[in-house]
Amino acid sequence: MNTADQYLKAIYLVQKMENGPASTGALADRLDVSPASVNEMIGKLQDRGLADHEKYKGVTLTDDGIEQAREALQTYCIIERFLHNVLEVEEFPSEAKALESVIDETVAERLDTIIDREPHCPDCFDAEADMCAELVGEGEAD
């Protein structure tokens, strides 16, 4: 998953939690990067028509941005469930974060063929716990 997709996923989840635009500060905290890095990437996402940024309010995904964010979230859910269900990794939330940049959606789709994933994925993703809702209680978030 590339960096832009990781940002889109984070914006989508912060928007869901805050029920409104995602602030630069909340995104920087969630992604563990500097606010300057967040602003730089938001500019790129805006140029690509994936997000809108309003000063003092925050960033909101466009319909195209939401679609891409949901695909990225699904890829992330597959990685989490694969680590948990197949490789039996206890620290799957932190490991999924560490691995997501190296695993793209093509590979995730293949791993998905051996995972018993819920049909409503990724709607059930728990934004607060930052993990697949089906796995909450089984792994420790960061």
């Binding site: 590339n2 490991e95 691995l99 940049s101 590979v107 995972i115 018993d116």
Partner: protein, 163 residues
Amino acid sequence: MSVHDRVSTDNQLARLLQIAVVLEEVVEVRAARHYETLSPDERDDDIEELLEDAREESAEHRERLEALIDQLDAEAVPLEEVEALVEATYAQTGPEDFDGVLYDQLHGEETAYKFYDDLIEAIESSDTDFGLDREELLATLKEIREEEAHGVEEVTAVMEARE
């Protein structure tokens, strides 16, 4: 530029190699099932050889990856469980016709190629001193990647010959 460092610990590397083992196992088991699902009139020497080669190659790749994982002192992948999972989901995700079999095989080889390509790039861009010989690691992964590329060409050739 990535949000997080790409491959920066032995544990991360071992986990990625384990994922490669699973991808190989998926190709191996599905190739075996593909042949079983073909009707007798769909079977011929070309397709039999293609699927047989794919199985053998995946098994060999898996062994080479497992040897690397051993050096990192990580746990082996529970292969029997993975095999059972692939078998169990084949009914839902397996192709339904001959062309589907070839396409699935092509997709498996392409996915593996893409994964090795990304993994090699991630290792090359990392300055981590891993607990195994870096040259050996990269040489092994590059050889496997080339064989996957060759596998893609073989499946494509069979597909073109059938057109």
